[in-house]
Amino acid sequence: MTELNIALIEYCLRIADNSLIHAQRIADWTGHGPILEEDIAMSNVSLDLLGQARGFYTYASQLEGNGKSEDFYAFHRGERDFRNRLMVEQPDLKDFGFTMMKLFLNGCFDYLFFRDLMKSRDETISGLAAKSIKEVTYHVRHAGDWVVRLGDGTEESHQRIQKSLNELWPFTNELFEQNEVDELLIQNGAAFNKKELKVEWDAMVNEIITKATLIIPSDKIYFHSGGINGVHSEHLGFLLAEMQYLPRMYPDAIW
């Protein structure tokens, strides 16, 4: 396999893992939302993310060409194999504001990321990005509306959503992290420099955060990272244990 293909597989798995783990967290809300309409909306978001994950896993499996399926990547890899960002694996603990803030901060990045990726020289990647950006556009609008409502709602909601922002902010630097995989793909025109998205991301986030009367935490805080190398928070292991248990318990079974 070429070096480029190895990098492409790794790149697809990062995107897919991120969407899958995020989808899994949001899906946990099904049946427990603050209002029925929002329950339906969160199921939609989760389905979108799951669809993105399946698209990129399928492409990774085609590139690998050894008969692995989307389910292999989702259910038969361990904690150190997953490449998602740490932010999405953080538990929501049925705090709706936390979920919306997470969706918003991630969504702003994914919007810019997929917008660039639509111009990828790799046609499958650009096609998957074009499909995903439509969904992410809606996620950003939906989550952004909630961030504003909660920020500028009641005293309690303001405090709660500010706390969520404070808790999630240390995970935002990781959005722009890249390594030699990115460099190779950037050279090849298959991917783009994520660091260049930072200015636009800041502007998108600032606009809503200001509208929500919230304050972005100081830059001096410590930022977490590790997802790109499969070094996660403790939370991922529990998530995978729950998600993977059936296929792990019955490895020969077809569902």
Binding site: L20, Q24, A27, D28, T30, G31, H32, G33, P34, I35, L36, E37, E38, D39, I40, S43, N44, S46, L47, L50, G51, A53, R54, Y57, E70, D71, A74, F75, K94, F96, G97, V148, R149, L150, D152, G153, T154, E156, S157, R160, E242, M243, Y245, L246, P247, Y250, D252, A253, I254, W255
Partner: protein
């Protein structure tokens, strides 16, 4: 004294007249209402309807909406544990449909004059009932198949008939909901069909789910008509078109063959095709269990109500914030 006595008599006489006129008027309206039902006309929210008709429908429809919403819980249990990405997506979409059904039926029920919030309060306080089936636990993945196939299958038998009921908003809601339920039914059956051609453990899992869900599914049609307090009125008003027993029989007749097709055994020793009646004969339903579950003593009644109450109270601050934000916007 005399004047006041005469006045009192006069007033009382007039009052009597008034009541008599009203009664005549009411019975005339009720007769007209009954006639339009007989003629197969559909009743719409603004039409006159007997108070009892309105109350019975409101009871049925709000219970139905509650059942959709509470029903999300046992199935939602398995979303994070679904054994493949395709199954996970299907299950999320399926449970999401149930939320949509809840919303749709609440809206239809609101046309009878009660707000959704009031109906929800009745559910949360335990005053309103919901389908007893959702007080059973989902213990294995096969239960998700059994719910889709048996529980939604039973619901389809009920709802296909309700789609022809006399109240317009309810019948229209049912038409739309039945289409989605048919999909749910097929996906449940497909889950079990896959398990039945799978490993030994998968087959056992499927049969175990069948054993646990069969009888509660039969109970979904409600008690035998002789023990069903509301049946007579509902049949007269064409809110119900068939008796509980008729619908249960219809469900059994169509489901037994489906079970056999994939090698599942129906857990009823007395189940037998009756050539004369052209129906399946079946064993005695444990109504004691049914009434225990209805009255709050099923395996999951307390848990389901707690989960609904938790979701409601966890979301209180969100709803309050949305309201406060919207009021601020209006003020500016």
């Amino acid at each position: 004294m005399l004047v006041s006595l005469i006045l009192a008599k006069l007033i009382s006489h007039l009052g009597f007249m008034d009541v008599k006129v009203k009664t005549d008027d009411l019975s005339a309206k009720e007769t007209a209402f009954n006639n339009s039902i007989k003629d197969g006309k559909v009743i719409e929210p603004k039409d006159w309807m007997p108070e009892k008709y309105r109350k019975q429908l409101l009871r049925m429809m709000s219970q139905h909406a509650h059942s959709e919403v509470v029903g999300m819980l046992p199935e939602g249990n398995w979303i994070t544990r679904a054994p493949s990405l395709a199954r996970k997506a299907i299950l999320i979409a399926k449970v999401q449909d149930e939320a949509g059904h809840g919303l749709y039926i609440y809206s239809a029920a609101e046309t009878l004059g009660m707000d959704r919030s009031e109906m929800v309060d009745q559910l949360l306080s335990g005053k309103a009932k919901y389908s007893s089936i959702f007080n059973y636990p989902t213990l294995t993945w096969a239960d998700i198949g059994a719910i889709g196939w048996l529980v939604d299958g039973a619901a389809i038998v009920n709802q296909t008939v309700l789609a022809k009921c006399s109240y317009g908003p309810y019948s229209r809601a049912m038409l739309r909901i039945c289409r989605e339920e048919n999909f749910h039914n097929k996906q449940g059956y497909q889950i079990l069909a896959f398990l039945m051609r799978g490993t030994k453990e998968q087959k056992e899992m499927a049969q175990d789910a069948m054993n646990r869900w069969w009888w509660p599914s039969l109970m979904m049609f409600g008690p035998s008509d002789k023990d069903s307090p509301n049946s007579a009125d509902l049949l007269k008003w064409k809110v119900k078109l068939y008796t509980n027993d008729d619908l249960r029989q219809r469900f059994i007749d169509r489901t037994v063959e489906q079970a056999e097709a994939i090698g599942l055994k129906v857990p009823d020793d007395k189940l037998k095709w009756n050539e004369e009646s052209r129906h399946y004969d079946f064993g005695e339903i444990n109504w004691e269990e049914f009434f225990q579950v209805i009255n709050g003593n099923g395996p999951c009644n307390k848990l389901r109500l707690k989960q609904r109450n938790d979701a409601h109270s966890n979301g209180q601050w969100v709803r309050e914030a949305a309201k406060a934000y919207s009021e601020k916007r209006k003020a500016n």
